[in-house]
Symmetry: C4
Subunit: 230 residues, 4 copies
Amino acid sequence: MYQELKQRVLAANLQLPKYGLVTFTWGNVSEIDRENGVIAIKPSGVEYDVMSENDIVIVDLEGNRVEGDLNPSSDTATHIELYKAFPNIGGIVHTHSRNATIWAQAGKDIPALGTTHADYFYGDVPCTRQLTHDEITTDYEKNTGLVIIEEFTKRHIDPQAMPGAIIAGHAPFTWGKDGSDAVHNAVVMEEVAAMATATRSISPEAAIQPELLDKHYNRKHGKDSYYGQK
Amino acid sequence: MYQELKQRVLAANLQLPKYGLVTFTWGNVSEIDRENGVIAIKPSGVEYDVMSENDIVIVDLEGNRVEGDLNPSSDTATHIELYKAFPNIGGIVHTHSRNATIWAQAGKDIPALGTTHADYFYGDVPCTRQLTHDEITTDYEKNTGLVIIEEFTKRHIDPQAMPGAIIAGHAPFTWGKDGSDAVHNAVVMEEVAAMATATRSISPEAAIQPELLDKHYNRKHGKDSYYGQK
Amino acid sequence: MYQELKQRVLAANLQLPKYGLVTFTWGNVSEIDRENGVIAIKPSGVEYDVMSENDIVIVDLEGNRVEGDLNPSSDTATHIELYKAFPNIGGIVHTHSRNATIWAQAGKDIPALGTTHADYFYGDVPCTRQLTHDEITTDYEKNTGLVIIEEFTKRHIDPQAMPGAIIAGHAPFTWGKDGSDAVHNAVVMEEVAAMATATRSISPEAAIQPELLDKHYNRKHGKDSYYGQK
Amino acid sequence: MYQELKQRVLAANLQLPKYGLVTFTWGNVSEIDRENGVIAIKPSGVEYDVMSENDIVIVDLEGNRVEGDLNPSSDTATHIELYKAFPNIGGIVHTHSRNATIWAQAGKDIPALGTTHADYFYGDVPCTRQLTHDEITTDYEKNTGLVIIEEFTKRHIDPQAMPGAIIAGHAPFTWGKDGSDAVHNAVVMEEVAAMATATRSISPEAAIQPELLDKHYNRKHGKDSYYGQK
């Protein structure tokens, strides 16, 4: 029934090693079918080079397995919370990609320092607060989603203009209109994170001009965009 | 009519991913045909691995499309200003290559620290001033070209002895006698930018001796050069 | 007699260049057959691309060669001490992989800064003390094993929850249930070491929350683990 | 007449791009035939992927071309001085490999910080003094060789125990018993230079214990060595 969805989610998962975003099995992509209320997601701990279409697991929005023989990603509950809170996103990626993870470990936003960043992320990529002891010991993966949502709510951030976040002490999540778009944003976050680390090493006070952030973001997004082919 | 030009510009664009200078579509190469007053340039937002010769767009020096069905690079106006101001250059490259972009984000010249740099760039690679609010909101891409030209005029820099610049908060441009030569200089700028970042991390006060800069630049360029085969 | 063991050890050794952990011959993998009291190990100074199954050397726990024409790795005595002291490990890896070696050269533990680290190493990866003059001049490789063991004893570290260590001024060792598992841990140590260096450059005081370390380690290890397929 | 020598020197030159030590044509390998008093060296400015055996140039020890149609490397005079001063070396490599060049640009010795370094270089890799104005303007390449030799003489360094040096503001040279061995040492210098930069970033005061330097160097070199197969 969900063959096409599984095919797309498999393809998106295979982009993770292709773009150098994962070591071993440290990453997962999901995509939601909002009409049918199900999510297709990578199985837990399965190597990318042996994964096949039918290994992709279908779960409902309560996390119950609807199709598939394998356990879904242990991060499934995080994906579900994000899909529920952000109604316009269609795909989610989680990785431990090196440079984005560095900022997560530092517990700091990935600062917007130039147009490369502004082309995709409208402002600093938010780093969540640390989870509390209770949030870690009970429903950890669900709470990981909730602290992302809390950060977006508290800072009044639009998840479509900011397609990703990093979790303090952990690693990044990105999203997009589908799984493949979410992978695209994961590649970009990794690149701008690497640039940010090195930029700050030669200029600790570097920051983008607000008008340049506006210009580049709006050049590629929204009704007045003029980048690319229409 | 411009088939050979398009072929060369396609080939030069394909060198960008080959040399690791681009992520996705973040770069473009153009070449000018000064006799006919036209420029061949990459189409906007098209992936390198599907680009064909006839996707290359021909525009005149007012930016009007002369040949091709696709929109030209959104950076076309920057290329045009540079071709108009620098009459001896034949090709231009724009990328967001990681290490050169770092210096642009830091708003600092890429300092000349050794002979690798001196072999190609006769002095620090200039970083422009930030664009003003008005320059960003109106004719942004054209103004990007103009601030580069302003910097070369103000500092009395010869664009043939300094085949590139970085834009504050943005990224590098390089040029050369044709598109392929401009790509060559983009590779070099990326390499010397990486070396400069790391050099300064172990020696913040490092700088090249002026006589060594002269020696290496003139060993490869101008009437007394003796590098390579004649 | 030990053909299958040699085959496995050859395969594990060939993973070292595949994962980019070695330059030239700078690494070795061994595996123990505890029933027969022998170790299979890489021959000393032999290039990976010409190594064959029968080049793998079989030695007993006193270091005497039991099978094979070549000299075993010069680090064999270190492997032997670790197998004797840590009865539950089945394979050992030694490399000079760049990022783990950096922390060894700095004489500092690789700090646990995030969940990537916590998924595999239950705490900071210990760096041994420096060897004394006498330990270096006499039985150097044996003493290298002994200072690792000393560190684990002194700090009450369980070698199964901490599958690796770094030697001050030298380089890393990792272990696992077999040779291939030890290589897996060597890849992880290299990755988390790289992340730690960069994290500390943007946040010198970064550290993981103890409860997050617990959570991630126990999510993947022990009786309450729920990562992967069962 | 020198066909075998040219073949070996071609092969050694082709190892430079293979090991990632060169961008474009920025490197050269030579080898000496001491019996016949000639040197085989890369032609100047020729790309590695089009170079053939007969492009390799044979020059005598005064720098006169004995065989070949192309100009020899512009660095030939440096090679000649080193061959004349160091009678036991058979091959020389010059590159602008990134990490070794960083230390050259910083004007600092590559510090011996661990056993990886000690296995090949018996102490800090010396950085020469800067050349004077006159040394740069007249006989620059010859003087580049002479400042290396001066440094070894002044510090009483044995060129066989220290198979390389870096030139202040410029880049590295390495040598060995033949061209291929010199390339091997160039790869090692690049790796230990990268390790040194990062080590110092987390531990500015790091240094190797003298007895560990002795141990590792002598484990691989000289009459009491026991690494590898005999």
